[in-house]
């Protein structure tokens, strides 16, 4: 399109939209650094009277949490943070690894199962609460209930379509001739992929890994229904605070929310050029 | 409707505040009903020129007139100038009919008027049976017709064609070239035609303007331009093979010659008597068509045949004269052997000299006529 300059009116629209987009982010950041006296102020206080990091400390201190005298939330967030890291990192690594194999297989050898798309589609569109039920049954029979192994297995399966198709689109972008040159050199096919294909798509590999991490880190429903006492993740912990305290623990909850979102937003900015590709299974490349 | 005249007056287009000069002061006058070809290599500024005429780009300075009236301040859609893109740029999701009607629909013309105009143009272009086909399903030359027709429907005063044949396959290109000639004669439009292909320019245009580095070097009738290149660049660009160009000097009495002689490295050529050129540096041009082979003893130049290329109707022979390679076009009946020693002869009148500093052609004889 013929590129024109922004008019004043359009600039104003853009500014208004920016305010709407950023205000909620501003609010959660401010709440996270509000001292307890500001939490329940009515009308709400926009900027903390005395910015503090005490909420982040409280989050990891069971005794401090008890002091607020709210039942059921004596559990510190330590376990949830460790749980989220453990589940997300392991599941992401496995998903990307398995997805990478599959991506090369599909892109270079046409190993595409005709029924795969339907299975994936059904798996994705099946309401998660309902697919969680068979997991509860199966896991209780093989002793995986309330275990990270079970949760990670689900995460891998749920993100596998994303990692496979996103990576496939990166492999597709790579001219075949480059690998073929390596194969003529006498290297075996697998070796050619290891030494040529994978190093050449490392940018895409990074983007995919980060994208899958975002998906796993954000997951809520499965963690909610498959965790009891052993397993916890940040989203589940956040939901627990809301349930247990009717949300009155504003500052502490906000601190946890900030802890949960900051890594994702940073990772998101890093790979923003590839977000559309990830979200659309490689259909839209930027 | 009378056919309008188009004039470009000292047209300049600069980018990045003058750091890049795409078009460097062009003057061109296109007569009513004339087809003029802007010929030049890619990047010479010919497409930028078209964009300015059509209004997609604003000139940095200079003016554009249609029938004496400046159009630079008129928006592109109202200039009455049509442009056909190299890649046709048809609207892929529309049918041929919708494509053809587009210019009238957006001007909110009446339904009957649109239908009539579309039918008329479809008739002219032989697309009557294809009106309801989606444009994306068309072949290259059909898209080309749609692109032209879509423009003709708006009855432009001037039609601009940007490399209209270069995206077509060879056979389609030949057919389309004939088609364009027919349209030209039937509609009698004023046309500017941009191309890098001299055959296209030679076969379609009344006159050719050769562009190089943002400047027009020469505007000449198509029938004359190959014989009378005005500039070293034009001489080296036109013709197949182009003129043999030898950069050298004219000095008086070299190597025992009576009068002044032209030297180019080891090669020396005595100039005919009456040559009005002073001593200095020049470029000598020898048209391959005006050279002929002759027995060594009778010819001013002698060498060996290093390449023989048959082209059907004629033969291009490359003769190494000392270290200089000269292209000679001979009738197909003459077939010298490779490595054969031959003499090269020419009519002194066919010699062309270009100034060593100006690169412009010089009249070498006192009478103002080329030697």
């Amino acid at each position: 399109m013929l590129s024109k300059k922004l008019t004043l009116f359009q600039a104003a629209l853009l500014a208004a939209a920016l305010a709407v987009v950023l205000f909620p982010v501003f609010w959660i950041l401010m709440t996270a650094i509000k001292p307890p006296t500001d939490w329940n102020a009515s009308p709400a206080i926009w900027m903390p009277s005395q910015p503090t990091l005490v909420n982040f400390k409280t989050l990891f201190d069971p005794d401090a949490l008890k002091e607020y005298g709210v039942g059921g939330v004596s559990q510190s967030a330590t376990k949830a943070v460790i749980g989220s890291l453990l589940a997300s990192i392991t599941a992401t690594t496995l998903s990307v690894l398995i997805g990478l194999f599959a991506a090369i297989g599909i892109s270079r050898y046409g190993a595409e199962n005709k029924s795969t798309p339907l299975v994936i589609l059904s798996g994705r569109m099946f309401p998660p609460a309902a697919i969680a039920v068979p997991f509860v049954i199966i896991f209780s029979n093989i002793g995986l209930t309330d275990s990270y192994v079970g949760l990670i297995a689900i995460y891998v399966a749920a993100t596998l379509p994303f990692s496979t198709w996103m990576l496939k689109s990166f492999v597709d972008d790579l001219p075949r001739e480059i690998e073929e040159a390596a194969m003529i050199d006498g290297k075996s096919r697998i070796k050619a992929h290891l030494t040529v294909t994978i190093p050449l798509i490392r940018g895409g590999l990074f983007a995919t890994t980060m994208f899958i991490f975002i998906l796993n880190w954000s997951e809520f429903m499965f963690a909610l229904v498959l965790s009891y006492s052993n397993v916890s993740t940040i989203p589940v912990q956040l939901a627990k605070y809301v349930t247990a305290t009717a949300g009155t623990l504003y500052g502490v909850q906000a601190a946890l929310a900030v802890l949960a979102m900051v890594p994702l937003v940073i990772v998101g900015y890093l790979i923003q050029g590839h977000l559309a590709r990830g979200m659309t299974f490689g259909a839209i490349k930027q | 409707m009378s056919i309008p005249k188009l004039e470009l007056v000292s047209l300049v287009k600069e980018y990045n505040d003058g750091a890049v000069v795409a078009v460097d002061g062009i003057d061109l006058s296109v007569a009513p009903g004339e087809t003029i070809a802007l010929l030049g290599p890619s990047g010479c500024g010919k497409s930028t020129t078209l964009n300015m005429v059509v209004g997609l780009e604003e000139p940095t300075s200079g003016d554009i007139h249609i029938d004496g009236l400046s159009i630079v301040n008129i928006p592109p859609g109202k200039r009455n100038v049509g442009l056909v893109f190299q890649d046709y740029a048809v609207f892929p999701s529309m049918t041929v009919r919708q494509n053809l009607a587009f210019g009238l629909v957006v001007r909110k013309k009446g339904r009957e008027e649109i239908a009539r105009a579309v039918d008329e143009v479809a008739e002219l272009l032989g697309m009557v049976g294809r009106l309801d086909v989606r444009a994306r399903d068309l072949g290259g030359s059909e898209m080309q017709r749609v692109a032209i027709g879509r423009t003709l429907v708006t009855k432009p005063a001037v039609l601009l064609l940007d490399e209209p044949l270069s995206n077509l396959e060879a056979a389609a290109r030949l057919a389309m070239r004939r088609e364009l000639r027919r349209l030209q004669s039937e509609i009698g439009l004023t046309i500017i035609y941009v191309t890098h292909d001299q055959i296209e320019a030679l076969s379609l245009a009344d006159r050719i303007a050769v562009m190089h580095a943002g400047k027009i070097l020469q505007v000449e009738k198509t029938s004359l331009i190959c014989e009378r290149p005005d500039h070293v660049y034009v001489a080296g660009f036109l013709g197949s093979p182009p003129m043999n160009l030898l950069a050298g000097e004219i000095r008086p009495g070299v190597a025992g010659a009576a009068g002044p002689a032209f030297t180019h490295g080891p090669l020396t050529l005595a100039l005919p008597a009456g040559c009005a050129l002073e001593k200095g540096s020049y470029t000598l041009g020898l048209r391959p068509e005006s050279l002929r082979l002759a027995p060594e003893s009778e010819a001013p130049l002698a060498g060996t045949v290093s390449l023989v290329e048959f082209r059907g109707g004629d033969v291009v022979v490359t003769v190494d004269v000392a270290s200089v390679k000269l292209d000679v076009i001979l009738p197909a009946t003459e077939r010298p052997a490779m490595g054969q020693s031959v003499g090269v002869d020419f009519d002194p009148e066919s010699l062309v000299f270009f100034g060593g500093d100006t690169s412009r052609r010089l009249d070498a004889s006192p009478m103002g006529r080329p030697l």
């Binding site: 920016l18 982010v25 709400a44 309401p127 049954i137 697998i190 990772v267 659309t280 490349k285 | -």
Partner: protein, 324 residues
């Protein structure tokens, strides 16, 4: 996973990209068939173990009257289509959850599309700081749904900033109880969802706009079209496949809307914001009607597949074409 937008039909999707994939032509099936199979095997195994088997178990379960209090699933009584007929004929709560989800989805998608397109069009203009602003506008979709739900839960408190702003603009009497009134709760859910996912439409539509070929647009300008005509007659038809992709992806996700609503309202007040996912969740984990919940889930799956199919229908030809 409930949070991120899911896949479009993977078989259709990869062909859509404007630049034809270089290596994606004809894979040499004959040469490397075994290698290809071996490479995809781990993925196939995971999919079968963690997707196909649970789906089959759920399918079996949906034809029984099983509930965890009644012992093993395989001892449960087979009841045929009883769960399905109950759901379709008698369960008005299910019907309302479906209709409610569809309505919320329709409104959300329409708004997300409108805002996303407007933003994308503004981003086609030239201005300074564009790349910074681009990142800023993408921020919401990078935040996890649970956190988004929590943020907006705070914003919509009766003494929260949204009410403060409304009172500042409309006068001091507008003390809205967002989570106590059905229409307001639905509005809050929609606002949250639109804020969260408009960036995805923006992102997809902007990349679509950027890949609209320039010359047809220029041709339209030269033929006399004004900017509005150029946009609606030339640009939008080119964008159609991209728009459909955006809608398909969002539809698949919003049908499962859960996280944000769970944090915001838990489906309340009453069942005013109870989405399909929330209803099934409550059936399974509050009322322990697991078999019944599974049947509901399969009905939803069938409906959603049908809906996606309808969405893809108008561009099927176009998708195939680009693929060629």
């Amino acid at each position: 996973m409930a949070s991120p937008p899911g896949p479009t039909h993977p078989a259709d999707a990869p062909g859509l990209s404007p630049a034809a994939p270089h290596g994606g032509g004809k894979p040499p099936r004959a040469k490397g068939g075994n290698i290809g199979l071996a490479l995809t095997l781990p993925g196939q195994i995971v999919s079968i173990l963690v997707l196909v088997i649970p789906l089959l178990v759920a399918l079996y379960m949906s034809f029984t009257d099983w509930s965890p209090t009644r012992g093993s699933l395989f001892d449960a009584e087979f009841v045929g289509f009883e769960n399905y007929s109950e759901l379709l004929i008698w369960d008005t709560r299910f019907l309302y959850a479906v209709l409610r989800t569809l309505c919320i989805s329709a409104v959300c998608l329409a708004l997300e599309f409108a805002f996303g397109l407007s933003l994308a069009v503004l981003f086609m203009r030239r201005f300074r700081g564009k790349s910074l602003l681009f990142s800023a506008f993408l921020t919401p979709m990078m935040i996890l749904p649970v956190v988004v739900g929590y943020i907006f839960w705070m914003l919509f408190q009766s003494s929260g900033p949204v009410n403060q702003i409304l009172e500042f603009v409309l006068g001091p009497d507008v003390a809205l109880e967002w989570f106590r009134s059905a229409p307001l709760a639905v509005t809050a859910v929609i606002i949250t969802e639109v804020w969260h996912w408009t960036p995805l439409f923006f992102l997809i539509l902007l990349s679509g706009l950027n890949s609209v070929p320039e010359n047809p647009v220029r041709a339209a300008v030269i033929l006399g079209a004004n900017p509005r005509q150029v946009f609606w007659r030339v640009v939008m038809p080119t964008l159609k496949p991209v728009i459909i992709v955006a809608f398909v992806i969002r539809t698949m996700e919003i049908i499962k809307l859960f996280d944000e609503v769970f944090m915001l309202t838990r489906g309340g007040p009453g069942s005013a914001t109870e989405t399909i996912s929330l209803y099934i969740y409550k059936l399974a984990f509050n009322d322990f009607q697991l078999a019944y919940g599974a049947a509901a889930a399969f009905l939803v799956l069938l409906g959603a597949l049908g809906l996606i199919h309808l969405l893809l229908l108008p561009v099927r030809n176009q998708l195939l074409e680009v693929k060629r």
